[in-house]
Protein backbone atom coordinates (compact mmCIF):
# COMPACT_ATOMS: atom_id res chain seq x y z
CA UNK A 1 0.00 0.00 0.00
CA UNK A 2 1.22 3.36 -0.83
CA UNK A 3 0.43 6.33 1.26
CA UNK A 4 0.33 8.91 -1.42
CA UNK A 5 -1.79 11.66 -0.02
CA UNK A 6 -3.18 14.60 -1.78
CA UNK A 7 -1.37 17.81 -1.20
CA UNK A 8 -4.22 19.82 0.06
CA UNK A 9 -4.78 17.40 2.83
CA UNK A 10 -1.16 17.28 3.75
CA UNK A 11 -1.06 20.98 4.11
CA UNK A 12 -4.20 21.16 6.06
CA UNK A 13 -2.52 18.87 8.50
CA UNK A 14 0.28 21.33 8.71
CA UNK A 15 3.10 18.83 8.86
CA UNK A 16 3.81 17.90 5.32
CA UNK A 17 7.08 16.42 4.34
CA UNK A 18 7.91 19.35 2.13
CA UNK A 19 7.35 21.82 4.85
CA UNK A 20 9.17 19.89 7.46
CA UNK A 21 12.51 20.42 5.89
CA UNK A 22 12.27 24.14 6.26
CA UNK A 23 11.75 24.00 9.97
CA UNK A 24 14.92 23.02 11.62
CA UNK A 25 15.87 21.74 14.99
CA UNK A 26 12.68 22.19 16.92
CA UNK A 27 11.62 19.77 19.59
CA UNK A 28 7.95 18.93 19.83
CA UNK A 29 7.74 21.25 22.81
CA UNK A 30 9.23 24.13 20.95
CA UNK A 31 6.69 23.55 18.23
CA UNK A 32 3.98 23.54 20.83
CA UNK A 33 5.15 26.81 22.28
CA UNK A 34 5.38 28.47 18.90
CA UNK A 35 1.84 27.45 18.11
CA UNK A 36 0.52 28.28 21.54
CA UNK A 37 1.95 31.78 21.47
CA UNK A 38 0.00 32.52 18.33
CA UNK A 39 -3.26 31.89 20.16
CA UNK A 40 -3.88 35.28 21.70
CA UNK A 41 -7.03 34.28 23.56
CA UNK A 42 -5.36 31.35 25.23
CA UNK A 43 -2.46 33.58 26.06
CA UNK A 44 -4.72 36.09 27.76
CA UNK A 45 -6.35 33.22 29.63
CA UNK A 46 -2.95 32.05 30.75
CA UNK A 47 -2.23 35.56 31.94
CA UNK A 48 -5.45 35.59 33.91
CA UNK A 49 -4.61 32.29 35.52
CA UNK A 50 -1.15 33.47 36.45
CA UNK A 51 -2.76 36.54 37.97
CA UNK A 52 -5.21 34.33 39.83
CA UNK A 53 -2.42 32.21 41.19
CA UNK A 54 -0.67 35.32 42.41
CA UNK A 55 -3.87 36.57 43.97
CA UNK A 56 -4.32 33.24 45.72
CA UNK A 57 -0.76 33.24 46.99
CA UNK A 58 -0.87 36.83 48.13
CA UNK A 59 -4.46 36.80 49.30
CA UNK A 60 -3.28 37.81 52.75
CA UNK A 61 -1.39 40.97 51.84
CA UNK A 62 -3.95 41.98 49.24
CA UNK A 63 -6.88 41.62 51.58
CA UNK A 64 -5.11 43.50 54.33
CA UNK A 65 -4.30 46.27 51.90
CA UNK A 66 -7.74 46.59 50.33
CA UNK A 67 -10.05 44.77 52.66
CA UNK A 68 -10.30 42.94 55.94
CA UNK A 69 -9.30 39.52 57.22
CA UNK A 70 -11.48 36.87 55.58
CA UNK A 71 -12.99 35.51 58.77
CA UNK A 72 -13.35 38.72 60.70
CA UNK A 73 -16.95 39.68 61.34
CA UNK A 74 -18.28 43.18 61.24
CA UNK A 75 -21.78 42.89 62.67
CA UNK A 76 -22.21 46.63 62.39
CA UNK A 77 -22.17 46.17 58.62
CA UNK A 78 -25.42 44.25 58.98
CA UNK A 79 -28.64 46.10 59.39
CA UNK A 80 -30.96 45.34 62.25
CA UNK A 81 -32.46 42.45 60.28
CA UNK A 82 -29.10 40.83 59.83
CA UNK A 83 -29.09 41.53 56.11
CA UNK A 84 -25.71 42.50 54.74
CA UNK A 85 -24.78 45.77 53.15
CA UNK A 86 -23.41 46.16 49.67
CA UNK A 87 -20.16 47.39 48.18
CA UNK A 88 -18.64 50.42 49.77
CA UNK A 89 -15.22 52.00 49.84
CA UNK A 90 -14.05 49.93 52.76
CA UNK A 91 -15.86 46.78 51.73
CA UNK A 92 -15.29 46.69 48.00
CA UNK A 93 -17.58 43.74 47.35
CA UNK A 94 -19.87 44.32 50.31
CA UNK A 95 -20.23 41.99 53.27
CA UNK A 96 -21.85 38.61 53.69
CA UNK A 97 -24.61 37.49 55.99
CA UNK A 98 -22.44 37.58 59.08
CA UNK A 99 -20.59 40.70 58.17
CA UNK A 100 -17.46 39.29 56.61
CA UNK A 101 -15.67 41.02 53.78
CA UNK A 102 -16.81 39.44 50.52
CA UNK A 103 -13.79 40.86 48.71
CA UNK A 104 -11.35 39.06 50.98
CA UNK A 105 -13.36 35.90 50.90
CA UNK A 106 -13.42 35.92 47.13
CA UNK A 107 -9.64 36.26 47.16
CA UNK A 108 -9.26 33.41 49.60
CA UNK A 109 -11.79 31.38 47.67
CA UNK A 110 -9.33 31.39 44.80
CA UNK A 111 -6.96 29.40 46.98
CA UNK A 112 -9.51 26.66 47.45
CA UNK A 113 -10.45 26.51 43.82
CA UNK A 114 -6.87 26.34 42.69
CA UNK A 115 -5.81 23.86 45.33
CA UNK A 116 -8.64 21.54 44.47
CA UNK A 117 -8.18 22.05 40.79
CA UNK A 118 -4.53 21.21 40.89
CA UNK A 119 -4.51 18.48 43.52
CA UNK A 120 -7.64 16.69 42.39
CA UNK A 121 -6.54 16.93 38.80
CA UNK A 122 -3.07 15.72 39.56
CA UNK A 123 -4.28 12.77 41.59
CA UNK A 124 -7.02 11.73 39.24
CA UNK A 125 -4.70 12.08 36.30
CA UNK A 126 -2.06 10.10 38.14
CA UNK A 127 -4.41 7.26 38.96
CA UNK A 128 -6.08 7.41 35.58
CA UNK A 129 -2.79 7.33 33.74
CA UNK A 130 -1.37 4.45 35.73
CA UNK A 131 -4.49 2.32 35.56
CA UNK A 132 -5.20 3.29 31.97
CA UNK A 133 -1.69 2.36 30.96
CA UNK A 134 -1.75 -0.89 32.84
CA UNK A 135 -5.09 -1.82 31.33
CA UNK A 136 -4.17 -0.78 27.83
CA UNK A 137 -0.74 -2.29 27.86
CA UNK A 138 -1.26 -5.60 29.56
CA UNK A 139 -4.84 -6.12 28.40
CA UNK A 140 -6.28 -9.47 29.43
CA UNK A 141 -7.83 -9.80 32.85
CA UNK A 142 -6.17 -6.67 34.21
CA UNK A 143 -7.83 -4.69 31.48
CA UNK A 144 -11.11 -6.45 32.08
CA UNK A 145 -11.06 -5.57 35.76
CA UNK A 146 -10.08 -1.97 35.24
CA UNK A 147 -12.52 -1.47 32.39
CA UNK A 148 -15.37 -2.97 34.34
CA UNK A 149 -14.45 -0.78 37.27
CA UNK A 150 -14.72 2.21 35.00
CA UNK A 151 -18.05 0.97 33.66
CA UNK A 152 -19.40 0.62 37.15
CA UNK A 153 -18.18 4.04 38.21
CA UNK A 154 -19.73 5.60 35.17
CA UNK A 155 -23.00 3.85 35.83
CA UNK A 156 -23.36 5.87 39.02
CA UNK A 157 -25.11 9.20 38.91
CA UNK A 158 -21.86 11.02 39.45
CA UNK A 159 -22.97 14.03 41.40
CA UNK A 160 -24.94 11.77 43.73
CA UNK A 161 -21.93 9.58 44.17
CA UNK A 162 -19.71 12.54 44.93
CA UNK A 163 -22.31 13.96 47.20
CA UNK A 164 -22.62 10.66 48.99
CA UNK A 165 -18.91 10.22 49.44
CA UNK A 166 -18.44 13.79 50.46
CA UNK A 167 -21.31 13.80 52.91
CA UNK A 168 -20.25 10.48 54.38
CA UNK A 169 -16.70 11.70 54.76
CA UNK A 170 -17.59 15.13 56.02
CA UNK A 171 -18.35 13.64 59.41
CA UNK A 172 -15.99 14.60 62.18
CA UNK A 173 -13.09 12.31 61.73
CA UNK A 174 -13.59 11.70 58.06
CA UNK A 175 -13.85 8.28 56.57
CA UNK A 176 -11.58 5.41 55.60
CA UNK A 177 -10.23 5.15 59.13
CA UNK A 178 -9.56 8.85 59.34
CA UNK A 179 -7.46 8.90 56.21
CA UNK A 180 -9.83 11.21 54.45
CA UNK A 181 -10.50 14.32 56.40
CA UNK A 182 -13.50 16.49 55.97
CA UNK A 183 -13.02 19.50 53.76
CA UNK A 184 -10.41 19.69 51.09
CA UNK A 185 -9.43 16.04 51.45
CA UNK A 186 -12.96 14.82 51.09
CA UNK A 187 -13.67 16.99 48.12
CA UNK A 188 -10.55 15.78 46.43
CA UNK A 189 -11.38 12.15 47.10
CA UNK A 190 -14.89 12.57 45.76
CA UNK A 191 -13.59 14.24 42.64
CA UNK A 192 -10.84 11.72 42.11
CA UNK A 193 -13.17 8.75 42.47
CA UNK A 194 -15.18 10.09 39.60
CA UNK A 195 -12.62 11.74 37.44
CA UNK A 196 -9.91 9.15 37.18
CA UNK A 197 -12.24 7.14 34.98
CA UNK A 198 -12.25 9.72 32.21
CA UNK A 199 -8.50 9.91 32.11
CA UNK A 200 -8.23 6.18 32.58
CA UNK A 201 -10.46 5.49 29.63
CA UNK A 202 -8.71 7.93 27.39
CA UNK A 203 -5.25 6.73 28.33
CA UNK A 204 -6.30 3.13 27.94
CA UNK A 205 -7.57 3.86 24.46
CA UNK A 206 -4.42 5.72 23.57
CA UNK A 207 -2.22 2.96 24.88
CA UNK A 208 -4.25 0.35 23.06
CA UNK A 209 -3.66 2.15 19.82
CA UNK A 210 -0.08 3.09 20.62
CA UNK A 211 0.91 -0.43 21.48
CA UNK A 212 -0.13 -1.49 18.01
CA UNK A 213 2.10 1.14 16.47
CA UNK A 214 5.08 -0.09 14.62
CA UNK A 215 7.49 1.83 16.79
CA UNK A 216 6.47 -0.31 19.73
CA UNK A 217 7.14 -3.40 17.67
CA UNK A 218 10.39 -1.81 16.72
CA UNK A 219 11.30 -1.34 20.35
CA UNK A 220 10.43 -4.92 21.09
CA UNK A 221 12.41 -6.03 18.10
CA UNK A 222 15.28 -4.05 19.61
CA UNK A 223 14.96 -6.04 22.82
CA UNK A 224 12.97 -3.67 25.01
CA UNK A 225 11.18 -4.99 28.08
CA UNK A 226 7.67 -3.99 29.01
CA UNK A 227 8.97 -1.48 31.50
CA UNK A 228 11.14 0.19 28.91
CA UNK A 229 8.32 0.21 26.42
CA UNK A 230 5.88 1.72 28.86
CA UNK A 231 8.17 4.41 30.18
CA UNK A 232 10.36 5.24 27.23
CA UNK A 233 8.15 4.56 24.26
CA UNK A 234 4.55 4.94 25.34
CA UNK A 235 4.69 7.48 28.13
CA UNK A 236 6.33 10.25 26.09
CA UNK A 237 3.51 9.89 23.59
CA UNK A 238 0.95 10.21 26.33
CA UNK A 239 2.30 13.51 27.49
CA UNK A 240 0.28 15.44 24.96
CA UNK A 241 -3.06 13.78 25.72
CA UNK A 242 -2.34 13.94 29.42
CA UNK A 243 -1.64 17.65 29.23
CA UNK A 244 -4.68 18.24 27.04
CA UNK A 245 -7.08 16.30 29.21
CA UNK A 246 -5.60 17.70 32.39
CA UNK A 247 -6.25 21.19 31.21
CA UNK A 248 -9.74 20.14 30.19
CA UNK A 249 -10.62 18.56 33.52
CA UNK A 250 -9.20 21.33 35.64
CA UNK A 251 -12.22 23.54 35.01
CA UNK A 252 -14.52 20.59 35.52
CA UNK A 253 -12.89 19.92 38.86
CA UNK A 254 -13.25 23.52 39.88
CA UNK A 255 -16.93 23.30 39.06
CA UNK A 256 -17.32 20.04 40.89
CA UNK A 257 -15.66 21.41 44.01
CA UNK A 258 -17.89 24.44 43.84
CA UNK A 259 -20.93 22.21 43.37
CA UNK A 260 -20.05 20.10 46.39
CA UNK A 261 -19.39 23.17 48.48
CA UNK A 262 -22.61 24.61 47.16
CA UNK A 263 -24.41 21.52 48.36
CA UNK A 264 -22.81 21.91 51.76
CA UNK A 265 -20.49 18.93 51.75
CA UNK A 266 -17.36 20.55 50.44
CA UNK A 267 -14.90 22.90 52.00
CA UNK A 268 -15.35 23.29 55.73
CA UNK A 269 -16.07 26.70 57.18
CA UNK A 270 -14.77 29.12 58.02
CA UNK A 271 -12.61 28.64 54.93
CA UNK A 272 -14.03 30.61 52.09
CA UNK A 273 -15.07 28.75 49.00
CA UNK A 274 -16.89 30.22 46.06
CA UNK A 275 -19.40 27.40 45.92
CA UNK A 276 -20.28 27.79 49.55
CA UNK A 277 -20.57 31.54 49.19
CA UNK A 278 -23.02 30.97 46.37
CA UNK A 279 -24.97 28.55 48.53
CA UNK A 280 -25.12 31.08 51.34
CA UNK A 281 -26.14 33.73 48.87
CA UNK A 282 -29.00 31.64 47.54
CA UNK A 283 -31.35 32.57 50.33
CA UNK A 284 -30.69 36.28 50.01
CA UNK A 285 -30.04 36.58 46.31
CA UNK A 286 -32.81 39.06 45.77
CA UNK A 287 -31.44 41.53 48.29
CA UNK A 288 -27.69 40.93 48.30
CA UNK A 289 -26.73 40.65 44.66
CA UNK A 290 -23.09 41.30 45.48
CA UNK A 291 -22.94 38.15 47.49
CA UNK A 292 -23.65 35.87 44.55
CA UNK A 293 -22.35 38.10 41.79
CA UNK A 294 -18.73 38.38 42.95
CA UNK A 295 -17.96 34.79 43.91
CA UNK A 296 -20.05 33.57 40.98
CA UNK A 297 -18.27 35.92 38.63
CA UNK A 298 -14.90 34.84 39.96
CA UNK A 299 -15.85 31.22 39.51
CA UNK A 300 -17.12 31.84 36.00
CA UNK A 301 -14.01 33.75 34.97
CA UNK A 302 -11.68 31.17 36.43
CA UNK A 303 -13.41 28.27 34.78
CA UNK A 304 -13.60 30.20 31.55
CA UNK A 305 -9.91 30.98 31.68
CA UNK A 306 -9.03 27.35 32.24
CA UNK A 307 -11.36 26.31 29.44
CA UNK A 308 -9.76 28.80 27.09
CA UNK A 309 -6.32 27.70 28.14
CA UNK A 310 -7.33 24.10 27.63
CA UNK A 311 -8.60 24.86 24.15
CA UNK A 312 -5.40 26.67 23.33
CA UNK A 313 -3.22 23.89 24.64
CA UNK A 314 -5.19 21.31 22.75
CA UNK A 315 -5.01 23.24 19.51
CA UNK A 316 -1.32 23.79 19.92
CA UNK A 317 -0.60 20.18 20.74
CA UNK A 318 -2.85 18.74 18.11
CA UNK A 319 -2.86 20.96 15.06
CA UNK A 320 -5.46 18.78 13.40
CA UNK A 321 -8.24 19.93 15.65
CA UNK A 322 -10.72 21.98 13.83
CA UNK A 323 -11.78 24.48 16.41
Amino acid sequence: MSSVRDEEELHREGAADFVAMDIVGRTPWQLFWVRFRRDRVAFVALGFIVLLVLVAIFAGPISSAFGHPPNAQYPNRLDSFGTPTGPSSSFLFGVDQIGRDVFSRVLYGAQVSLEVALLATAISVGIGVVLGMVAGYFRGWVDTIISRLIDVTLAFPILLLALGIASACSLGNGCAAGLIHPGLGTVIVAIVVINWTYIGRIIRGQVLSLREKEFIEAARAGGARSRTIIFREILPNLVAPIVVYSTLIIPQNILLEAALSYLGVGIQPPRASWGQMLADATSIYSTAWWYFAFPGGALLLTVLAFNLLGDGVRDALDPRTTT
Binding site: L160, L278, L300
Partner: protein, 320 residues
Protein backbone atom coordinates in the same frame (compact mmCIF):
# COMPACT_ATOMS: atom_id res chain seq x y z
CA UNK B 1 -28.72 -8.48 17.05
CA UNK B 2 -31.22 -10.18 19.33
CA UNK B 3 -28.43 -12.01 21.08
CA UNK B 4 -26.59 -8.76 21.40
CA UNK B 5 -29.52 -7.05 23.05
CA UNK B 6 -29.95 -9.94 25.43
CA UNK B 7 -26.28 -9.90 26.30
CA UNK B 8 -26.21 -6.17 26.80
CA UNK B 9 -29.32 -6.32 28.93
CA UNK B 10 -27.78 -8.96 31.14
CA UNK B 11 -24.71 -6.83 31.52
CA UNK B 12 -26.87 -3.85 32.36
CA UNK B 13 -28.61 -5.82 35.07
CA UNK B 14 -25.30 -6.97 36.44
CA UNK B 15 -24.06 -3.40 36.47
CA UNK B 16 -27.10 -2.28 38.39
CA UNK B 17 -26.57 -5.02 40.92
CA UNK B 18 -23.00 -3.93 41.38
CA UNK B 19 -24.07 -0.31 41.70
CA UNK B 20 -26.68 -1.20 44.28
CA UNK B 21 -24.16 -3.23 46.20
CA UNK B 22 -21.56 -0.49 46.14
CA UNK B 23 -24.10 2.09 47.20
CA UNK B 24 -25.02 -0.15 50.05
CA UNK B 25 -21.42 -0.53 51.05
CA UNK B 26 -20.57 3.14 50.74
CA UNK B 27 -23.51 4.35 52.74
CA UNK B 28 -23.30 1.57 55.28
CA UNK B 29 -19.66 1.96 55.91
CA UNK B 30 -19.83 5.71 56.03
CA UNK B 31 -23.28 6.57 57.30
CA UNK B 32 -23.68 10.21 58.13
CA UNK B 33 -26.50 10.23 60.64
CA UNK B 34 -27.91 7.42 62.74
CA UNK B 35 -31.12 6.33 61.01
CA UNK B 36 -32.50 4.61 64.09
CA UNK B 37 -32.02 7.73 66.16
CA UNK B 38 -33.60 9.76 63.41
CA UNK B 39 -36.56 7.49 63.30
CA UNK B 40 -36.95 7.35 67.07
CA UNK B 41 -37.49 11.00 67.75
CA UNK B 42 -36.32 13.43 70.33
CA UNK B 43 -37.39 11.90 73.56
CA UNK B 44 -36.82 8.28 72.71
CA UNK B 45 -34.86 6.04 75.03
CA UNK B 46 -31.69 4.30 73.91
CA UNK B 47 -33.60 1.02 74.19
CA UNK B 48 -36.21 2.18 71.72
CA UNK B 49 -33.47 3.25 69.37
CA UNK B 50 -31.91 -0.18 69.65
CA UNK B 51 -35.28 -1.77 68.99
CA UNK B 52 -35.78 0.34 65.89
CA UNK B 53 -32.30 -0.49 64.80
CA UNK B 54 -33.24 -4.13 65.00
CA UNK B 55 -36.56 -3.58 63.29
CA UNK B 56 -34.93 -1.77 60.44
CA UNK B 57 -32.46 -4.61 60.24
CA UNK B 58 -29.62 -2.23 60.93
CA UNK B 59 -28.02 -4.49 63.49
CA UNK B 60 -27.62 -7.33 61.01
CA UNK B 61 -24.36 -7.64 59.09
CA UNK B 62 -24.55 -5.43 56.09
CA UNK B 63 -24.42 -8.28 53.61
CA UNK B 64 -27.53 -9.74 55.21
CA UNK B 65 -29.16 -6.34 55.04
CA UNK B 66 -28.17 -6.16 51.41
CA UNK B 67 -29.57 -9.58 50.70
CA UNK B 68 -32.89 -8.64 52.28
CA UNK B 69 -32.95 -5.46 50.29
CA UNK B 70 -32.12 -7.28 47.10
CA UNK B 71 -34.80 -9.85 47.68
CA UNK B 72 -37.41 -7.17 48.17
CA UNK B 73 -36.18 -5.45 45.07
CA UNK B 74 -36.22 -8.52 42.88
CA UNK B 75 -39.38 -10.08 44.20
CA UNK B 76 -41.63 -7.08 44.56
CA UNK B 77 -39.65 -4.31 42.95
CA UNK B 78 -39.66 -2.91 46.45
CA UNK B 79 -37.15 -0.15 47.07
CA UNK B 80 -37.81 -0.10 50.77
CA UNK B 81 -39.23 2.54 53.04
CA UNK B 82 -37.65 5.78 54.05
CA UNK B 83 -36.07 5.79 57.48
CA UNK B 84 -37.03 9.37 57.67
CA UNK B 85 -40.75 9.31 57.14
CA UNK B 86 -41.49 5.63 56.43
CA UNK B 87 -42.88 6.46 53.01
CA UNK B 88 -42.35 3.96 50.22
CA UNK B 89 -39.25 4.98 48.32
CA UNK B 90 -40.63 3.57 45.11
CA UNK B 91 -43.80 5.60 45.21
CA UNK B 92 -41.85 8.67 46.30
CA UNK B 93 -39.57 8.33 43.31
CA UNK B 94 -42.35 7.69 40.87
CA UNK B 95 -44.44 10.54 42.15
CA UNK B 96 -41.48 12.87 41.64
CA UNK B 97 -40.64 11.53 38.23
CA UNK B 98 -43.03 13.88 36.37
CA UNK B 99 -41.24 16.91 37.77
CA UNK B 100 -37.84 15.54 36.85
CA UNK B 101 -39.06 14.58 33.41
CA UNK B 102 -40.51 18.05 32.98
CA UNK B 103 -37.19 19.68 33.79
CA UNK B 104 -35.06 17.21 31.92
CA UNK B 105 -37.03 16.84 28.75
CA UNK B 106 -37.76 20.55 28.58
CA UNK B 107 -34.09 21.31 29.07
CA UNK B 108 -33.19 18.68 26.51
CA UNK B 109 -35.50 20.17 23.91
CA UNK B 110 -34.11 23.60 24.65
CA UNK B 111 -30.49 22.62 24.38
CA UNK B 112 -30.97 20.59 21.22
CA UNK B 113 -32.97 23.37 19.58
CA UNK B 114 -30.33 25.92 20.50
CA UNK B 115 -27.13 23.92 20.40
CA UNK B 116 -27.37 22.11 17.11
CA UNK B 117 -28.43 25.02 14.90
CA UNK B 118 -25.80 27.23 16.49
CA UNK B 119 -23.21 24.55 15.84
CA UNK B 120 -24.26 24.20 12.23
CA UNK B 121 -24.24 27.93 11.58
CA UNK B 122 -20.81 28.20 13.16
CA UNK B 123 -19.48 25.29 11.16
CA UNK B 124 -20.66 26.63 7.84
CA UNK B 125 -18.59 29.73 8.18
CA UNK B 126 -15.79 28.82 10.52
CA UNK B 127 -13.72 31.69 11.84
CA UNK B 128 -16.33 34.20 10.79
CA UNK B 129 -17.35 36.88 13.25
CA UNK B 130 -20.63 35.13 13.96
CA UNK B 131 -18.80 31.88 14.58
CA UNK B 132 -16.40 33.54 16.95
CA UNK B 133 -19.15 35.25 18.88
CA UNK B 134 -21.18 32.07 19.18
CA UNK B 135 -18.25 29.91 20.16
CA UNK B 136 -17.00 32.49 22.64
CA UNK B 137 -20.46 32.72 24.13
CA UNK B 138 -20.73 28.98 24.31
CA UNK B 139 -17.50 28.74 26.24
CA UNK B 140 -18.85 31.23 28.73
CA UNK B 141 -22.01 29.16 29.05
CA UNK B 142 -20.00 26.01 29.59
CA UNK B 143 -17.98 27.73 32.27
CA UNK B 144 -20.96 28.98 34.23
CA UNK B 145 -22.20 26.65 36.93
CA UNK B 146 -25.89 26.01 36.82
CA UNK B 147 -26.50 27.29 40.33
CA UNK B 148 -24.84 30.57 39.50
CA UNK B 149 -26.71 30.95 36.24
CA UNK B 150 -29.84 29.97 38.10
CA UNK B 151 -29.31 32.70 40.67
CA UNK B 152 -28.53 35.25 38.02
CA UNK B 153 -31.60 34.32 36.02
CA UNK B 154 -33.79 34.37 39.10
CA UNK B 155 -32.31 37.68 40.09
CA UNK B 156 -32.96 39.12 36.68
CA UNK B 157 -36.14 37.48 35.49
CA UNK B 158 -38.11 35.75 38.18
CA UNK B 159 -41.47 37.21 38.89
CA UNK B 160 -41.62 38.49 42.40
CA UNK B 161 -37.92 38.59 43.00
CA UNK B 162 -36.38 39.48 39.67
CA UNK B 163 -35.37 42.81 38.29
CA UNK B 164 -37.37 42.28 35.09
CA UNK B 165 -40.26 40.24 36.49
CA UNK B 166 -40.46 38.14 33.39
CA UNK B 167 -40.86 34.48 34.27
CA UNK B 168 -43.76 33.90 36.55
CA UNK B 169 -43.94 31.12 39.05
CA UNK B 170 -40.20 30.53 38.89
CA UNK B 171 -39.08 28.72 41.98
CA UNK B 172 -42.40 27.02 42.53
CA UNK B 173 -43.05 24.04 40.37
CA UNK B 174 -46.57 23.40 39.20
CA UNK B 175 -47.43 20.04 37.62
CA UNK B 176 -48.49 20.14 33.99
CA UNK B 177 -51.69 18.33 34.89
CA UNK B 178 -52.63 21.20 37.12
CA UNK B 179 -52.07 24.09 34.80
CA UNK B 180 -49.95 23.77 31.65
CA UNK B 181 -49.44 27.49 31.36
CA UNK B 182 -48.14 27.90 34.88
CA UNK B 183 -46.16 24.72 34.48
CA UNK B 184 -44.42 26.24 31.50
CA UNK B 185 -43.90 29.52 33.29
CA UNK B 186 -42.54 27.87 36.37
CA UNK B 187 -40.01 25.88 34.41
CA UNK B 188 -38.84 28.16 31.66
CA UNK B 189 -35.95 29.59 33.64
CA UNK B 190 -34.94 26.16 34.85
CA UNK B 191 -34.96 24.85 31.30
CA UNK B 192 -32.88 27.66 29.97
CA UNK B 193 -30.44 27.46 32.84
CA UNK B 194 -30.09 23.73 32.55
CA UNK B 195 -29.85 23.96 28.79
CA UNK B 196 -27.21 26.68 28.73
CA UNK B 197 -24.14 24.56 29.34
CA UNK B 198 -25.48 21.63 27.37
CA UNK B 199 -26.49 23.78 24.43
CA UNK B 200 -23.06 25.32 24.41
CA UNK B 201 -21.39 21.95 24.58
CA UNK B 202 -23.56 20.54 21.83
CA UNK B 203 -22.96 23.58 19.69
CA UNK B 204 -19.23 23.09 19.98
CA UNK B 205 -19.53 19.39 19.34
CA UNK B 206 -21.74 19.89 16.33
CA UNK B 207 -19.45 22.50 14.93
CA UNK B 208 -16.34 20.43 15.47
CA UNK B 209 -17.85 17.28 14.06
CA UNK B 210 -19.34 19.01 11.09
CA UNK B 211 -16.13 20.80 10.20
CA UNK B 212 -14.26 17.55 10.46
CA UNK B 213 -16.82 15.68 8.41
CA UNK B 214 -16.79 18.37 5.75
CA UNK B 215 -13.16 17.49 5.14
CA UNK B 216 -13.98 13.85 4.55
CA UNK B 217 -13.45 12.28 1.18
CA UNK B 218 -17.08 11.36 0.82
CA UNK B 219 -18.07 14.99 1.08
CA UNK B 220 -15.72 15.65 -1.82
CA UNK B 221 -17.46 12.84 -3.65
CA UNK B 222 -20.84 14.35 -2.91
CA UNK B 223 -19.69 17.64 -4.35
CA UNK B 224 -18.03 15.96 -7.29
CA UNK B 225 -21.24 14.27 -8.26
CA UNK B 226 -22.97 17.61 -8.43
CA UNK B 227 -25.09 17.80 -5.33
CA UNK B 228 -26.22 21.17 -4.10
CA UNK B 229 -24.03 22.49 -1.30
CA UNK B 230 -27.07 22.67 0.95
CA UNK B 231 -27.71 18.98 0.34
CA UNK B 232 -24.06 18.21 0.87
CA UNK B 233 -24.13 19.91 4.25
CA UNK B 234 -27.53 18.92 5.54
CA UNK B 235 -27.65 15.41 4.21
CA UNK B 236 -24.13 14.10 3.86
CA UNK B 237 -22.46 16.31 6.40
CA UNK B 238 -25.00 16.33 9.20
CA UNK B 239 -25.82 12.67 8.85
CA UNK B 240 -22.31 11.80 9.85
CA UNK B 241 -21.71 14.74 12.17
CA UNK B 242 -24.84 14.28 14.24
CA UNK B 243 -24.61 10.55 14.76
CA UNK B 244 -22.18 10.77 17.68
CA UNK B 245 -24.23 13.64 19.05
CA UNK B 246 -27.30 11.45 19.17
CA UNK B 247 -25.28 9.08 21.29
CA UNK B 248 -24.27 11.81 23.65
CA UNK B 249 -27.74 13.22 23.84
CA UNK B 250 -29.08 9.83 24.80
CA UNK B 251 -26.53 9.45 27.55
CA UNK B 252 -27.05 12.97 28.84
CA UNK B 253 -30.77 12.66 29.08
CA UNK B 254 -30.34 9.32 30.78
CA UNK B 255 -28.03 10.92 33.29
CA UNK B 256 -30.42 13.77 33.94
CA UNK B 257 -33.51 11.61 34.30
CA UNK B 258 -31.91 10.29 37.43
CA UNK B 259 -32.24 13.80 38.77
CA UNK B 260 -30.97 17.17 37.70
CA UNK B 261 -29.83 17.78 41.24
CA UNK B 262 -28.46 21.28 41.05
CA UNK B 263 -31.20 22.63 38.83
CA UNK B 264 -33.88 21.12 40.98
CA UNK B 265 -32.34 22.62 44.07
CA UNK B 266 -31.82 26.08 42.66
CA UNK B 267 -35.33 26.25 41.25
CA UNK B 268 -37.07 24.38 44.04
CA UNK B 269 -38.38 21.69 41.80
CA UNK B 270 -39.61 18.68 43.73
CA UNK B 271 -37.97 16.11 41.51
CA UNK B 272 -35.85 13.07 42.02
CA UNK B 273 -32.64 15.04 42.23
CA UNK B 274 -33.95 17.02 45.12
CA UNK B 275 -35.26 13.91 46.74
CA UNK B 276 -31.86 12.30 46.37
CA UNK B 277 -30.16 15.30 47.84
CA UNK B 278 -32.54 15.40 50.78
CA UNK B 279 -32.05 11.68 51.24
CA UNK B 280 -28.31 12.11 51.48
CA UNK B 281 -28.63 15.00 53.86
CA UNK B 282 -31.00 12.97 56.01
CA UNK B 283 -28.84 9.86 55.81
CA UNK B 284 -31.94 8.12 54.60
CA UNK B 285 -30.33 4.99 53.23
CA UNK B 286 -33.35 3.42 51.53
CA UNK B 287 -34.02 6.67 49.74
CA UNK B 288 -30.37 7.11 48.81
CA UNK B 289 -30.19 3.56 47.62
CA UNK B 290 -33.41 3.98 45.65
CA UNK B 291 -32.41 7.19 43.97
CA UNK B 292 -28.90 6.06 43.17
CA UNK B 293 -30.24 2.87 41.72
CA UNK B 294 -32.87 4.76 39.83
CA UNK B 295 -30.30 7.15 38.43
CA UNK B 296 -28.02 4.27 37.56
CA UNK B 297 -30.90 2.54 35.86
CA UNK B 298 -31.42 5.49 33.55
CA UNK B 299 -27.73 5.75 32.83
CA UNK B 300 -27.38 2.09 32.05
CA UNK B 301 -30.63 2.02 30.13
CA UNK B 302 -29.63 5.06 28.11
CA UNK B 303 -26.33 3.40 27.31
CA UNK B 304 -28.14 0.32 26.16
CA UNK B 305 -30.61 2.22 24.03
CA UNK B 306 -27.90 4.36 22.55
CA UNK B 307 -25.80 1.35 21.66
CA UNK B 308 -28.70 -0.30 19.93
CA UNK B 309 -29.76 2.91 18.29
CA UNK B 310 -26.27 3.35 17.01
CA UNK B 311 -26.58 0.16 15.06
CA UNK B 312 -29.39 1.75 13.11
CA UNK B 313 -27.67 5.06 12.70
CA UNK B 314 -24.27 3.78 11.77
CA UNK B 315 -24.47 0.75 9.53
CA UNK B 316 -20.78 0.07 10.07
CA UNK B 317 -21.41 -1.02 13.62
CA UNK B 318 -21.98 -4.72 13.72
CA UNK B 319 -23.27 -6.70 16.63
CA UNK B 320 -22.91 -10.35 16.98
Amino acid sequence: MGAYIVRRTLWAILLLLVVSFLTFVIFNVFPSADPAALRAGRNATPALIEQIRRNLGLSKPFYTQYWIYLKGLLEHFNLGYSYYNTESVKSEIFSRLPATISVTVGGFVAWMLIGIPVGIISAIKPRSLLDRIMMGGSLVAISAPVYFLGLVSLFLFAQGTGVLQWAGAAGSYVPITQNPGTWFNSLILAWLTLAAAFAAFYARMTRGNLIEVMHEDYIRTARAKGLRESVVITKHGLRAALTPIVTMAGMDIGLLLGGAILTEIVFNIPGIGRYAYDAIVNADLPAIQGTVLFGAFFIVFANLVVDILYAFLDPRVTYG
